[in-house]
């Protein structure tokens, strides 16, 4: 190996150290500060905030909510993104390029704009409820926003383009000749998919699932705007503690806790992806 090759890492390493490592260290420092009765921050080297956060049952609820919400949004997004990605990967249509752009188009729109779009579609007087009421399927509007349902729908839509790209990148291992061999040996298309295509695409699924899960865990805008103050997750609580309660130490502890949780989940996804690739 060329001994100068690691030098290529230098610009990115300097950049990451400057914009990520140093603020993270400051965040870590804040976790040891304390907060006075009126909210003023008291510089200290104390474990009191850490102890209080983990003794509070609400932290467990936040963790459970974040994991559950991320898992459901990831699973839904995977169900939608997998066939779409497979189609884009396999098709020889001249529309392949434009279709791929359409699939990732939501990434090009501001998250806030997309969420307000969902409010217009799913609200009590939104498109869905208006159509359902006009055809007589429902008499009163369905509650599709400002609750768990709305956040799940919004998150699913927001992570789908990323998962589509991850699946497309991971489908490189799919070998069409193996599927054709299965078909020539008498397997039905469905059986061929289940026994050949799906197993071969498992590493791509693990990669996309890991990415979608991590993005859902750290999502703030969607739970904040579509949750209506009813959906509490780690990301919204970190923001709330920092910007409404002015409680930086609690916010810092929760942020570090979330970071550790995400790193652990990413490591697990990586291990799963490698195991499935063997």
């Amino acid at each position: 190996m060329n001994t100068r090759l690691p030098l290529l890492l230098l610009p990115a390493a300097v950049f990451v150290l400057g914009i990520y490592a140093w603020p993270t260290l400051l965040l870590l420092r804040n976790a040891f500060n304390e907060v006075g009765p009126t909210g003023a921050m008291i510089p200290a080297w104390s474990l009191a905030t850490l102890r209080d956060v983990f003794a509070d049952g609400f932290t467990l609820e936040l963790t459970r909510n974040s994991l559950l919400l991320s898992a459901s949004a990831t699973a839904l997004a995977l169900l939608l993104a997998y066939p779409l990605s497979l189609f884009l990967f396999r098709t020889n249509s001249r529309w392949r390029g434009p279709l791929a752009v359409v699939a990732i188009l939501p990434m090009l729109v501001s998250g806030v704009v997309r969420v307000f779009g969902w409010l217009a579609i799913l609200g009590d007087r939104g498109l869905v409820n208006s159509v359902l009421q006009s055809v007589g399927l429902i008499s009163a509007p369905l509650k599709l926003v400002f609750n768990w349902t709305g956040v799940t729908i919004g998150l699913t839509e927001s992570i789908m383009p990323y998962m589509t790209l991850a699946l497309l990148a991971g489908f490189g291992r799919l070998d069409r000749t193996l599927e054709e061999a299965a078909r020539s040996l008498g397997a039905s298309p469905w059986r061929g998919f289940l026994r050949v295509t799906l197993p071969l695409s498992l590493p791509a699924i693990a990669l996309a699932g890991g990415l979608g899960f991590v993005l859902s865990m750290s999502a703030y805008i969607t739970p904040k705007l579509l949750g209506g103050g009813r959906v509490f997750v780690l990301a919204t609580e970190i923001f709330e503690q920092a910007t409404t309660n002015t409680n930086w130490p609690v916010s810092a502890v929760l942020a570090i806790y979330t970071l550790v949780l995400l790193l652990a989940l990413l490591a697990l996804a990586q291990l799963a992806s490698r195991a499935l690739a063997r």
Binding site: T38, G228, T246
Partner: protein, 351 residues
């Protein structure tokens, strides 16, 4: 006896006087941090532009970090190198800044205008920046709602199910509402909020959102809700702008003052101009202009406000009589506990 030397000194002093006066005039740039949106628009017209006209050497940069808590957080982060000279924010957060040494104490010798302020305005900041505006919590309602709400207890009307936008704690509107409901139930928030929580839990199923975005007015104007918790000044302005579609209601059961203080940032880069701006913002002309433009109640007791505007502010005598005496420092100490009770008992009942 007028000697030649004395005559010469007198002549030179007379020649230098205008230059000395000019030198004493403030100049340079200052950065004012306050609320964005309609507050910024109206404050610029009513206060900043007249200040600049009187002090042509000063440039005022308006900046906002979002909420009061975000503002104090920004100033806290810049403590070693302040980028803001003057900050206007809610008293609950400026108190934090005062304790942390982010703001300067103000003396009457440097700021004679402090003597013109009402006792409540002086008390709000203690030795630090005083109150610059007063406001109070109201219920903003759609004028199309029939019958109109006439009291706080009307929020529990069955026909309003799903049509309420209530800002829950830690938003201070939620904290103020808790104190108001406790009072409505005959209690005192300083002793307990059990009665308020019980009543709010009953209200929860009627709430469409506990976090109105972008704000309660937009939700009313778009027909999403019929009633929202809101601050009086903005509601008065929106009422005018929406041709009466949004109507403010001061509940007869009582309301709670919201106080904004004006603060001189410790170590401000242009302290002289910042101090001049602060003094102007508290002066009678600035207070009159802003109150008549945006219906925040004045804190300068000598400001002569037009009666029509005054009647729509928190200091109108009939409104003042309905205010519940609230010490925000007390509420701050109980904020986490109230917040937890809302989440576990009130919002949980709405899921």
């Amino acid at each position: 006896m007028l000697t030649r030397r004395i005559a010469l000194r007198t002549g030179l002093a007379a020649l230098a006087a205008p230059a000395i006066a000019r030198a004493q005039k403030v100049g340079g740039e200052i950065t004012l941090m306050a609320y964005s949106g309609i507050f910024q628009d109206n404050y610029t017209k009513a206060v900043i532009e007249p200040f600049i006209a009187a002090n042509p050497g000063v440039k005022v940069n308006f900046t906002s970090a979002g909420t009061s808590a975000q503002m104090v957080g920004t100033i806290r982060a810049q403590k070693a190198d302040p980028q803001v000279d003057v900050a206007i924010m809610d008293v609950t957060t400026s108190t934090i800044g005062n304790i942390e040494g982010l703001f300067d104490k103000l003396s009457e010798s440097e700021f004679p205008v402090l003597n013109e302020l009402s006792p409540e305005a002086r008390a709000a900041g203690g030795a630090f920046g005083p109150a610059v505006t007063f406001d109070h919590l109201v219920l903003a309602q759609d004028s199309a709602l029939k019958p109109q709400l006439t009291k706080l207890a009307d929020l529990w009307r069955p026909d309003l199910k799903g049509l309420l936008a209530i800002s829950a704690p830690p938003n201070i509107q939620g904290l103020a509402l808790t104190a108001m409901v406790e009072k409505m139930e005959g209690g005192d928030y300083r002793k307990s909020i059990d009665a308020a929580i019980r009543r709010l839990r009953e209200l929860a199923p009627s709430v469409n959102t506990f976090e109105p975005n972008p704000d309660g007015y937009a939700l009313i104007l778009n027909g999403v809700v019929k009633v929202a918790t809101a601050w009086n000044a903005r509601t008065q302005l929106v009422a005018d702008q929406s041709a009466g579609r949004v109507v403010p209601l001061l509940p007869p059961e009582g309301s709670v003052f919201q106080i904004n203080t004006i603060n001189l940032v410790a170590g401000a880069k242009n302290r002289a101009a910042g101090a001049a701006f602060l003094a102007y913002a508290l002066s009678q002309p600035a207070q009159k202009a802003f109150t008549e433009r945006m219906f925040y109640a004045p804190t300068n007791a000598r400001a002569q406000i037009a009666p029509a505007a005054m009647a729509r502010t928190a200091t109108a005598p009939d409104i003042r009589a309905r205010m519940i005496p609230v010490d925000w420092n007390d509420i701050l100490k109980m904020r986490d506990q109230w917040n937890n009770r809302w989440r576990r008992e009130v919002i949980a009942a709405a899921r």
